[in-house]
Amino acid sequence: MAVVENNGNGRRKSPFSSSVYATILKTIGSVLVTMLGLTFVTFIIGRVMPIDPVISIVGERASRETYDAAYQAMGLDKPILVQFAYYIWDVLHGDFGMSLLNARPVAEDIRRVFPATLELATIGTFFGVVLGVPLGVIAAVKRGTWVDQVARVVALVGYSMPIFWLGLMGLLVFYGILGWVGGPGRVGIFYEDVVPSVTGMILIDSMLDNNWEVFRNAISHIILPASILGYYSMAYISRMTRSFMLEQMSAEYITTARVKGLPERTVVWRHAFGNIKVQLITVIALSYANLLEGAVLTETIFAWPGIGQYITTALLSADMNAVLGGTVVVGLIFVLLNIFSDLLYRFFDPRAAK
């Protein structure tokens, strides 16, 4: 952490050079522009799509008068740019409008569904990293051997298998036949609403409440969908790890290190792996963002009430406020994760900051 010094004339010396400020400003600027662009495009798509949000509200049997009244109440009679300006103004105030479907504030809905996805994606990514990184490294080190072949097949299967099918098979075997894991949903029906919702993440909430029975039940429910997402993300992470490692292993400094007689373990983990950490961060962040974006099909199969399912349902029902709200949140996460990985990049590899 930079130290704030007194330079003797009463004025504080800035801990950062001016180029750091410029970078921060540039980053904030690019976030704003990206978000504005994303919102605008989604907004326009919502408006030009041949679907009618008014019908969602008034129903298909409504009279012309009812229809017109709702049309006006929704502000659809105003020019599209005016509608967009109003929308942005509201969003800046944390108001994503009301869901046309359930008449609740979209922001409230998102607060309710997002923790479910966050919980699932975090554990999924954890599995993906813990399994994917070592697998990728080993495959690279044992290049061409049967170990590499097996690792590649495992990754390939995970990458190309429809996640929908994998989910169903997982449920059939581990829940249906073996009964090792809990079924669909975040927690058993008898445990629903047992612990107070603090973070919205049942695992954390049950720990806070010291209710280990609910915790255990929640674990038994999350383990399968998270493993399936984890497998999917593992496939991607291990593939990337392998190729990054291969690149390093063929570099001259590795040969030098070996010639110097360093143990292979040190060569692989300290030297080669040490050099791919930075690239891996981006891969992991992207993979995490992908899972957060809503593993829609996984959420559907496992009746997991997360943001993916929320946006899909909203889209199919022409609930554009909900779609926009969901898209903005997901977009923001994507952008923030990118910045986060960028910052870590700078932290681990100061050259990147130059």
Partner: protein, 519 residues
């Protein structure tokens, strides 16, 4: 308990408690729980169990038709325009407030004044925001309803059994009024009824939880808690049912129903529902408006083939607009696939090389029906293009009279034959300006060839038997003339744990009832 032991995943207990009913169902269609506004299947299911009505269906004997509920009895005035209900004594709302005639009158007035989507079920009797308080009145222990003209009493009473007829706890609701909304905002997510259950929670796309109402006048139900969980996937529902994590699975597809055959402890029930599947052709189209072409299309449907293949068990052939079990429903099935006959009719109409576009929404069974039609139409030289889209996309075009042909479904709005007669065979003004988008006859630009008057006459006929005959006649004419080919009626197949008894889904005319259920 140690952390390690906590992490050890134990097999999940697979039996629901004896006093709890757990159902898997798609419930993402619920938009509101206010009976004056609710108009979706899953919403009606909730409402049916929470709100008492003046008259209602007995779940254990649906064939008996409407009977007393919160009203103990009723009389009809000599001119047939006023029905006076006497309220049952001693009934309480879940809040503990007594159910008064005033609550009943106010609830119906409220539904008229709020004028939400299903309000037409009441306003078709001539009620509007200005006259509601004069036409629907409470006096002492009675409620009287005066219609603008004489209607069949059965028609009025059947309409009062619809969701919109739910009687609300006025005191409770008005405590939550905001900006003169008569409690509408609050009631979207809360309930105030006198039925067998009260709402614990509704989490959109997640679950609905009900708990039994100890004040219920028929006695507190055996199932103290009912949880309806949103499970979208049929195969997931099936697994949960097999494992015993749920008692009832309501959205099983034919494959999963077949897969459950012989599963231990599981029974499959089939019940006819009110939904019908149909195709229709736009009468603005110069060729499709020819009577021979309309007939030909009815001969170009492979009814049996579809029923016995991909629709197996989920739909049965039904060729008229009144679902079986409705008053006046007939079972005539004059049409079957007959390419030669269709070709003859087309030739007679002088139609060759016809190309038409059908709007279909992207639901599995509808796409399969559309593909079957593509195949059979082609055999008679009609090229059928499909426009596939979401429900809203296709519906918007249909409502704007822009589709040549529509492949769709229709569910009745209330348990009276007028509900479908008034949509399929009634169209008093066929002009574009009329914008009668709620009428299917209008959407297809069909002037009904004289059926409009017959439908109008049937709905005011006081004699039930005569009325029944009138609908039969209307349907026989409809069958031959209409630009609609009604194809199938829905059969709902439900998977149920064998220990669950007396679960009635409501048949073709009403919604599910949980209160008679025992385990």
């Amino acid at each position: 308990m140690s952390f390690a032991a906590t992490l050890a995943v134990a097999p999940v207990v697979a039996e629901t408690p004896a006093n709890m009913l757990v159902i898997a169902n798609r419930i993402d269609d619920i938009t509101t729980l206010d009976p004056a506004e609710s108009f979706e299947f899953a919403g009606s299911d909730v409402s049916r169990n929470i709100y008492g009505k003046l008259v209602n269906f007995d779940p254990m004997n649906l064939d008996a038709g409407y009977g007393p509920d919160l009203a103990e009895s009723w009389t009809v005035s000599e001119d047939g325009k006023t029905i006076t209900f006497t309220m049952r004594e001693g009934v309480k709302f879940a809040s503990g407030n007594p159910v008064r005639a005033e609550d009943a009158a106010w609830s119906l007035q409220r539904a008229v004044i709020l004028n939400k989507t299903p309000s037409f079920i009441l306003t078709q009797f001539g009620f509007n925001a200005d006259n509601a308080k004069d036409m629907i009145k409470a006096e002492g222990n009675t409620v009287s309803i005066t219609t603008d003209k004489r209607y069949a009493t059965s028609f009025v009473l059947n309409c009062l059994t619809a969701t919109i007829g739910g009687i609300l706890d006025k005191e409770e609701v008005m405590k939550h009024e905001v900006d003169g909304d008569m409690g509408n905002t609050w009631l979207k997510t809360n309930t105030a009824g006198s039925g067998a259950y009260t709402l614990v929670s509704w989490k959109p796309n997640e679950s609905v939880t009900l708990k039994s109402n100890p004040n219920f006048y028929l006695g507190e139900p055996a199932m103290k808690r009912v949880v309806v969980k949103h499970v979208a996937e049929s195969s997931t529902q099936r697994l949960m049912l097999e494992r015993g994590d749920i008692d009832v699975a309501r959205d099983l597809n034919p494959d999963d129903v077949a897969g459950l055959a012989g599963a231990e402890g599981v029974a499959i029930d089939s019940a006819l529902r009110g939904r019908i599947m149909y195709i229709s052709v736009n009468q603005k189209h110069p060729e499709l408006s020819k009577p021979e072409v309309r007939q030909a299309i009815k001969y170009l449907v492979d009814y049996e083939g579809m029923q016995n293949s991909f629709l197996k068990g989920q739909y049965v052939i039904h060729q008229n607009f009144l679902p079986a079990t409705y008053l006046g429903a007939i079972d005539d099935q004059p049409f079957s696939l007959n390419i030669e006959k269709a070709k003859e009719l087309l030739a007679k109409a002088g139609v060759t090389d016809l190309t038409i576009t059908a709007g279909v929404r992207e639901a599995q069974e509808r796409l399969e029906i559309a593909q079957s039609l593509q195949n059979t139409f082609a055999q008679a030289g009609i090229k059928l293009n499909l426009t596939v889209g979401t429900g809203k996309q296709i519906l918007t075009k249909y409502r704007a009279r822009e589709l040549d042909m529509y492949v769709g479904a229709w569910g009745p709005d209330y348990p009276d034959p007028h509900t479908n007669a008034g949509t399929f065979a009634y169209n008093p003004d066929n002009s574009d300006e009329a914008q009668a988008t709620g009428l299917l006859a209008w959407r297809n630009a069909w002037d009904t060839d004289g059926l409009t008057e017959k439908v109008a006459a049937a709905v005011v006929e006081g004699d039930r038997e005569v009325r029944k005959g009138m609908y039969e006649e209307i349907q026989r004419e409809f069958l031959q003339k209409a630009p609609f080919a009604i194809l199938f009626q829905k059969v709902e197949q439900t998977g149920r744990r064998e220990n669950v008894q007396n679960l009635n889904l409501g048949g073709a005319i009403t919604a599910v009832s949980y209160w008679p259920v025992t385990k």
